[in-house]
Amino acid sequence: MEIFSKVHGHNLVKWAADKKEVIVLSADLTSSCEADLFRDAYPDRFFSLGIAEQNMLSWAAGMAGEGFVPYIHTFAVFIYRRAYDQVAMSAAYSNIPVKMIGFLPGVTTPGGASHQAIEDISLMRSLPNMTVLETGDATDVETVLDAAHKINGPVYIRMLRGEIPRLFKDPLVFNRSRVLSNGTDITLLTSGICTEEAMRATKLMKEKGVSVCHHHISTLKPFTDPQVENAISQAKFGVITMENHSVIGGLGTCVAEIIASKGLNKKLVKLGIQDRFLHGASRRYLMKEHGIDAVTLIKTVEKIIGKELNISESELGTVRIEAVHSESKAEAL
C-alpha cells in the first residue's frame, strides 16, 4: 500500500486550473487544510475571511449567488458546529452551490473534543438540500471534487489530509459503494478511514473461511444505492457498519434506516463512537479505545457467526493491503 502526502492540496491546484468559477475561502487554517498551494497558485481566487466562520458561510452563499463556486476550507467542527445556522439558512435553504470541505474527522486528530468532528454527518445529513460525501483514501480525495462539483447545490465533504494511503484505483462514483469483496456470511459496510482498518481484518477473516461482503461507502446522503441494499439482503448472519463517527446519525443509522424501511430483517451491529466525546490522543489509541479497529471488528464477527477465528493482533500488524479496482476487479484482494 502506497502512502501519499498532501493529496488534496496538490490535487486542488491541478483540478481547479481550468475552473475559473472555483474560489477558495479560508478561516485562518489555510495550510492546515492544504489550501496554501491553491492560495499561492491562484491568489485572485483565494479569500481569507479570518477566524469568523459564521460570516464565511453566509459570505460564500453571497458569492455563490453571483455564479462563483466557493470551496470552504476549514476544520469540520467549525463548519457544522460554529456555523450551523449559516449553513442551514444561507447555503442549504437556497440550495446554492456552496461546497464545504471539512477536515479532521473523528479520531484523525489528537486535537481533542474541540477539533474532532464526531457528529458532522448526522447534522449535515438532516439538512434539506444537503449532499454528504466522505473520503477514505487518496483516490477518494482526488476524485471527490468532481462528484461534488457536478451537484448543483450545497455539498459537505468529510476530507482527509496529510499522509493518506491509496486503497482504490477507480474514481469515486456519486451514490455508489465500492465493492471490496463479495461474500454471504457477513455484510460489512465501512466509511472513511475505517475502510483501510477493516481491510486488514477482512483479509485474515477470509483466510479463516468467513465469507465477507465488504463495501466502502463514500456517499452518506443520499443513501439510496441499490448495490448496498442488495449487499445487506444477502448477509446470512448479519450486517456490521464501521465508522469514524458517532453511531447516532451516521453510516450505521443510514443502514438501520434501509434495513427497517425495506423490511430486510437483518441483525445490525454499529461499530463507531458510542455516543460520547473523544479526547486528545493518537489515532491508533482512540480507534482502539472506541472500538473502531480491526481487533474489535474481528471480535464482532466472531460473536455474530458464533465461532472463534483465532486471529492474533500480531497477525493483523503484518497484513499488507494493495490498492484495488473497486468495480472491475471486485475480488482483487
Binding site: F47, L49, G50, A52, Q54, N55, L57, S58, W59, A60, A61, G62, M63, A64, G65, E66, G67, F68, D85, Q86, M89, S90, Y93, S94, N95, P128, N129, N152, G153
Partner: protein, 300 residues
C-alpha cells in the same frame, strides 16, 4: 430629488401598514413608523433599480428551493431583478416585510391587492419574508446573516466588474450580533465601497429599549473602528437621507445610521412604550381608537 413625492409615499406606507394592522388585529407597526421615509428615499431616489413595466402580482407559493425547484420567482424580481450596473436591496430584519410590501405597492412594483395575500396560507407574501417573498433578495429571518451575503455578493460583483451597489437595511438590534461585526470587518478588509448599510436606529428591539436589552454605546464609533465610513442622519429628514450617500467613502463601506422615532406619525403608539416591537390591540375600544386615527389620516 422630489422630497414631496418621497414624503407622500412614506405617509402612504404608514397608512397602508396601519390599515393592515387594524384588519389583522395586530402587526409590526412601529417598524413602519420608524422606517417609512428611509425606505421611500431608498427606492425613489437613492438606489438605482431597474424599472418594472407593470406592478407584479404575488402568486401562489411555488415551494421551497430544492434540486427540483430552482426556477421559482424570487422576491428580487420586484426590485427589477439582477441587472449589471444596477443596485440591489437586501432587507435583513425580515419582520419589516409588511413595510416593504406596502413600499412596493406605493412605488408601483407590486399590485395593490398584494397585501390581501399577506400571511395567507399558500401564498408568498409571508409575515416574515423569505427569498420568495416580494422584495426579498435572501432568506434573512435569522438576523445577522443578510449583511454577510450582501457583502459576499458585493465582492463577487467587483470581481465581475459590475459597478452596481449592494444596499443592506439593518435594524439596530443587529449590531449586538457577532456576525454583523465579522461581516463589516471582512467588508472593510476587502474595501467593499459598493456595500452601503442603512440602519434603522429606532432604539427598539423585541424585549424593549435597545439600551436595556444590551447596551452598545456608540454604534457609530464601533463602525468607524471596524473601518466603515459613518454618517448619522435624522431618519425622517428626506433631504438628509438622500444626501447621506454622497458622503465620500472610497475603499470603505458606507454606513448610514438613521435616527428614527418608532412612533413617528402615530402618536397613540407611544402609549405602548417601551414595548413597541409588535402592536396587538388589547381591547375593541383601543382598536376603534386606531381606526378613528386612520380615518382622520385619510385611510388607505
Amino acid at each position: 430629488m422630489n422630497i414631496q413625492r418621497i414624503q407622500h409615499v412614506a405617509d402612504n406606507i404608514r397608512k397602508r401598514v396601519l390599515t393592515h394592522v387594524i384588519s389583522q388585529n395586530g402587526g409590526y407597526m412601529s417598524q413602519a413608523c420608524s422606517s417609512a421615509e428611509t425606505f421611500s428615499a431608498l427606492y425613489l431616489h437613492i438606489m438605482s433599480m431597474p424599472e418594472l413595466d407593470t406592478p407584479l402580482k404575488p402568486g401562489l407559493f411555488q415551494g421551497v428551493p430544492s434540486a427540483d425547484n430552482m426556477s421559482y420567482k424570487t422576491g428580487a424580481e420586484y426590485n427589477g431583478g439582477h441587472v449589471e450596473g444596477f443596485d440591489r436591496f437586501y432587507l435583513s430584519p425580515a419582520h419589516y416585510a409588511l413595510v416593504v410590501y406596502a413600499l412596493l405597492i406605493e412605488t408601483g412594483r407590486m399590485t395593490a391587492d398584494g397585501l390581501d395575500y399577506f400571511n395567507r396560507d399558500g401564498y408568498s407574501v409571508e409575515m416574515i419574508g423569505a427569498e420568495h417573498s416580494p422584495g426579498m433578495e435572501v432568506t434573512a429571518g435569522s438576523l445577522g446573516q443578510c449583511i454577510s451575503r450582501a457583502a459576499g455578493s458585493a465582492l463577487a460583483r467587483k470581481m465581475k466588474n459590475d459597478n452596481g451597489n449592494n444596499f443592506v437595511y439593518l435594524s439596530d438590534g443587529e449590531f449586538q450580533i457577532g456576525q454583523t461585526w465579522e461581516a463589516i470587518q471582512a467588508a472593510s478588509h476587502y474595501k467593499l465601497d459598493n456595500l452601503i448599510i442603512f440602519a434603522d436606529m429606532n432604539g427598539q428591539q423585541c424585549d424593549g429599549p435597545v439600551g436595556n436589552v444590551m447596551e452598545m454605546g456608540s454604534v457609530a464609533d464601533r463602525l468607524r473602528s471596524f473601518g466603515a465610513e459613518v454618517v448619522t442622519v435624522d431618519g425622517h429628514d428626506i433631504e438628509a437621507l438622500c444626501k447621506s450617500v454622497e458622503t465620500p467613502h472610497e475603499n470603505k463601506v458606507l454606513a448610514v445610521l438613521c435616527k428614527t422615532d418608532p412612533c413617528r406619525g402615530l402618536e397613540i403608539l407611544r402609549r405602548n412604550a417601551p414595548k413597541l416591537h409588535y402592536l396587538r390591540f388589547k381591547s375593541d375600544s383601543e382598536k376603534a381608537e386606531y381606526t378613528q386615527i386612520l380615518n382622520e389620516l385619510g385611510g388607505k
